[in-house]
Structure formats: C-alpha cells, structure tokens
C-alpha cells in the first residue's frame, strides 16, 4: 500500500511534528509513505476568498504532482485541505479534461483519520497517552467529508487516554480562513464558546484533525495561559507515552 503524503502548508511550516507523526502512524499501519517535495498548497485560501484564478493555478499544480508517483492513495492530515481537493472540479467547469482529472484524483484522496479507519480498517495503531482528552470536530472534516465516528474510534483505541465528549464538539471554532482576520471579533466570540467548554471539560489536551482549528483554539488557550494543550490527531496516535 503506497501512500503519497499531502502535508499541507500549515503543517509543513508550523508543525512539522504533525507530519512526522502522520508518517510514523501510516508506517505502523503497514503503508509505504512517499513525499513529493514539489508540493506546496491546495489553494484553499484563494478559493475561499474568491480568487478562483489563483486557486485554479494551484489546483492544476496539485493535480499534476499527485497524479504522478504511482501511489494508491493521497493522504492528508487536514480535513479542510482534503475537502478542497474534493472541490477542485468546481474550478474546471469550463474544462472537461481537467475536471475529470480532478475527480479521479479526489476519488483517491483521503483525510488521515478517515484513511486509517475506512480504507486500512485500522482503529488501534498502538498509541498510548495518559490523561483526559477531548475532540473538536473540524467543520470541513465533519460536514464536507462526513467524518464523525472515525476520529472517535481512533481516540478510543489509544491506551490510557480517557475520552471526554464536549457538549459542543461539532460547533465551529470560528476560524473560517480569512474570516478569522476579516471579522476577528466575531471569530473570537465564536471561539470563546468552544474555549469555555474545553476548560469545563477538565482535559489535558484538545485534539482535532485540522491544524487551522488547532491554531485558532491553541492561540486563545495560550493567550489565556491555559493548562490545556492542543494536539493533532496524528500526534495523539503517534504518541507512546
């Protein structure tokens, strides 16, 4: 099973340890992991802000790169970036050839947790982590890709981790890409609902599948000098405490 890693620019630049964890876990699950160094960005920031030409340019690049390499699947530790890949076809309404290529690639592009559970049929990757943890459902992963059960099953497979469900686990964290800086007050007001629930849950870590959410949530937690840390799902699953 050959997997091509789509690392995403956030993980690449800010949290390479998430990438490292993803590679580790995929290998534990029996995959050969390849990484095409030419990759950059899926173009989501441009697409979401309305700059479709720019997004199209990045999409073409993405498709070209990931079509090569002979991997069975493309796997990414990001629900929103995976969802973007699944939306590439919308950029090629005028171009049937590119649209078909986008559709074909999307069909074998998976979010990290979904890949483990739904393709590899693996829920226990030999992870262990001591303490209470909770899960934040990143919106794209939840509503675009339909991932709800998969991450929870994976977390329950982590030895020593006590899983606590947030009452508003599926509520948006308020990030929304450029929304977080175009309407920062609203973004933070939405965020604080999530932060309140996290603090009340008395957990050691809040886990999510999207680095952007973790940046939003983590940024507020550290500003508040909170004891709670953020963890990407890949990091939790790679953990061997």
């Amino acid at each position: 099973m050959r997997v091509s890693l789509f690392i995403t620019c956030l993980v690449d630049q800010l949290w390479p340890s998430v990438g490292a964890s993803a590679v580790e876990v995929l290998r534990r699950a029996g995959c050969e992991v390849v990484f095409d160094e030419r990759q950059t960005c899926c173009g989501q920031p441009a697409f979401n802000t309305g700059y479709r030409n720019e997004a199209r340019r990045l999409a073409r690049r993405f498709i070209e790169i990931f079509e090569e390499g002979g991997a069975d699947y493309v796997v990414s530790p990001s629900g929103s970036c995976t969802a973007m890949a699944h939306h590439f076809h919308e950029l090629f309404a005028e171009d049937e050839r590119w649209r078909r290529r986008a559709e074909a690639l999307a069909a074998r592009t998976y979010e990290f947790g979904a890949f483990l559970v739904n393709v590899l049929k693996v829920e226990d990757v030999g992870a262990s982590f001591k303490g209470r943890v909770t899960w934040h459902d990143a919106c794209h992963g939840l509503r675009d890709l339909g991932l709800r059960e998969e991450p929870r099953r994976l977390i329950r497979g982590v030895r020593g981790a006590e899983f606590v469900e947030l009452p508003n686990a599926d509520a948006c964290c308020g990030f929304g890409g450029t929304f977080s800086v175009k309407y920062p007050e609203i973004s933070v007001a939405i965020l604080d609902n999530k932060i309140d629930a996290i603090e009340k849950a008395g957990v050691r870590a809040v886990v999510s599948g999207d680095a952007s959410c973790l940046m939003q949530i983590g940024g507020r937690l550290t500003r508040n000098n909170s004891q709670v840390r953020t963890m990407h799902l890949a990091e939790l699953l790679a953990s061997r405490e």
Binding site: W15, G50, C172, E185, G219
Partner: protein, 491 residues
Amino acid sequence: MHQQTSETFDQNAREALADVQLRGALRNLATTFGGRRKEAIATVEDWEGLRDRARAAKDETLAHLDKYLEQFADNAERAGAQIHWGRDGAEACRIVLELIRARGASKVVKSKSMATEEIHLNHALEAEGLAPVETDLGEWIIQLAHETPSHIVVPAIHKSKRQIAELFAEKVGIEPTDDVAVLTGAARRILRRQFAEAEVGISGVNFGVAETGTILILENEGNARLTTSLPRTHIAVMGIEKVIPRFTDLDVFLKLLPRSGTGQRLTAYQSLITGTKRRPEDEGPEELHIVLMDNGRSRMLSHPVTRQSLACIRCGACLNACPVYQQVGGHAYGSVYPGPIGAVITPQLSGLKPAAQLPYASSLCGACREVCPVKIDIPELLLHLRAEVTEGTAAGTAAQHGPVKQRPLERFAFGLYARAWSSPTLYLLGARVARLLQGVVVRKGRIGKVGGLLAKLAPPLAAWTEWRDAPPLAPRTFREQWRDGQYREGN
C-alpha cells in the same frame, strides 16, 4: 447608533457583540430552537428522504418555473382569484396601493409576510397616507418600535420582555408588566378592533400549488386567518419561487417547515385558500388578489448554484444554527433577510455592491447546509458570491449599483501567494525569509499581541494577535527535514 445597512456589517457586528442582552437572547434562540428541532426530527420516519423529496420538488419547479407559474395562475384565476404581475418591489407596491385606492379603502390589516418586508410595502403605503396595521405579535412589536425584523420567524427576538413592556406602555398606554400573558392579552385586545373594522387584508404566501391554484399560509397566532377571512378584499403577495407542483407535495413541506423552524410538528393553523368563495352569502373575502412578484428572483435562475437560493421555504433553521448569527443577530446584516440565507439572497436581490460584505460574514462551517430542509448548499453559494465580488462578474446586479469596490492590496497579496506557492523554490525561500523576520515578534516560543508600525504593515497579523497568540514558524519545515533523510524508514 448609526444607520445599520449591510455596507456597515463589520461595524454593526461590533456593536452587536457589545450588547449583552442581545447575545443572551440569541443564545436562548439557538439552544431552544436547536433542541426542539432535534426532538421534532426524531418523530419523522425518514428525515433525509423527506429533505431529498422536497429539494427534488423544488428543483423540478424551478427548472420549469414558467410552466408551473402559468399553471398556478390559470388555476387560481379559474377559481376566482385575480392575478397581478410585479416585476420588482416598487411595481408590486404600486399594484397593492392601487388596489386599495380603487376600492376607496383605508383600513388595512397585515399578517406576517417576509416578501412585503423585502419590498418595504408598509413604508410605501404609509407614504400615501395609509396606516397598515401589522397583526402578527412580533411584527406588531417591531412596527410600534419602527424597526425591521431581526429574524425570519421571530422578528422581535432581539427585544427583551422589559423592552416590549416599555414599548407597549409608551405606544398603546398599558401598564408595564413582566407577565407575557398580560402583554399578549393586550395585543389581542387592541388588534381585535382592527380586525373587526378592516377593509383590506394583506398576507404573504408560504406555498402556491400549481395543480390547484391554492395558496397556503402557515401561522400560530390566528391573525393570518382573521386577515384573510374578515376583510372584503384579500391581497396576497407571493414571490414567484413559492410555487410547488402538486397538492400532495404539501405533505412533504408541511412536515419539514415547522419542524425545522420552531420544532413543531405543525403550526397551529394552515389556511388553504383556492380562489374566492363559491356563493356571495358565504363568509370570506369578496375578492382575492394574488400579486406575483419577481424582484430579482428570475435572475437567480441563471446558474444552478444561485438557483438553489429559490428553494428556500423561509423556515429560519439556518439562522438558528449559524454561529455568526448567534453572535451578532439579524440587524447587523442590514437586511430583512439575515443569517446564512440572508447573506446569499440579499446580495442577489439588493445588489452585490451594497451587500458585498455579507458573503464574507461566514466561517463556512456548513451548519446551515446541515439543517436546511431543502438542502440548499449555502457555503457553496457563499463561495460563488465571493468569487463574484473579486471577479466582478455579478450578472445584472452590477448594472444596478455599479461595480463592487475592489481590494487592491488583498488582490496583490493573493496574486503573490499564488505565484510564490506555485514554485517550490520560491515557497522555500519565502519560508526562510519569514523565519528570519519573525524573530522580531516571537517571544517565548509564540507571537503575542502585535502593535505599532508592524500592526499597520500587517493588519491580518494585528487582527489575529489582538486576541490570540500566533504560532512561530518551525525552525525547519517538514520538507527540509524529509530532504535531510530525517524520515527515512528505520530512523
């Protein structure tokens, strides 16, 4: 407080966030209606199947809107209704005004109708010396307060009991009280006199059945029944998208709308009106006038993404689910249609230029799409409109208000990003440069509040760090580590 228009959404939002009472009311709304909706859905055998069927019925109608509209008009006329065609809001208002004038009428009662709010009908009638009285409790409250609705279903949700009591005390002279039953009783008493004397009743239409020419009006209070039964003349204002093909399609929509909007299995009353009474001695209006209104709707037919806007059945579920609406409420949007559906239809109805902020007033979380009974993909619509804002391709609306204000700095930044991110060399170079520069702002492993000159140079960084720490760039990127063999198997 300044004039709240959609052009000042950002300012409106900031004001709303400071309004503690409003935010409490909105939190109550989200929790209450959200919870009731969930319970109500559980009473349906196949909720998803219902949604699919409703959407299919809407898609079928919209794809052949001319045919179904014609069928509706013919059947309604056959049963005695008179059909009027209004190309835009101003024309629809004129039609209504003329109908009232021609009958020498002056006493007008109204039941709740978003379509009439959209075209500011009351304002148009008042300008001509008429005094239409809103009879839905929530609408009456905002009429007394000279405000616009802040929610599609519960228009006065932004007002507290106290504020309403003070309003009633001031405007209709009752003793201030905290007792909701007493306040409601006062409304009943006062408005009953209006009903008894009314000459014209104006209503909206929730559904128009093409097969039979029937209009259906949903409500809980009974004021729509009174408005459409007592006066001699009934004028129904109906957006052209309200048509559905068959009488039995009502089953699907009546199952979806009340549950989605308020968590009820059914609202207290539905009036199904087909033409006029059979015999003159029967009760009911002598005349039924249906004003079929376009006002920008037909334009939405021109693309599948925008066409789904017309499937909306005005249940309000998306407002109740939206994290943005929950924080800022309806008035911030500066439109009678707020929340997620408002963010997408307001620019299409009123023009992209004045409403250009609205498509961006969303985190794209998709909660709206999840609760929409007719499965409108609002995030898809928002993204479509954002592209129209940046590319200035809005068909038609540009003609009305001129091109949307461009954001040259942002455009430049995204152009740069696309170019740089298309080249791995430039991408890495950019990362290295940024890592060097960030030393200026990184303290103890994070980036705290950025102020001063730097804030002016990089507003997004300032906006972020005002309330949140920002993570520093890692000393080495993942790909640099990979290249160095750090992740070779066996390490």
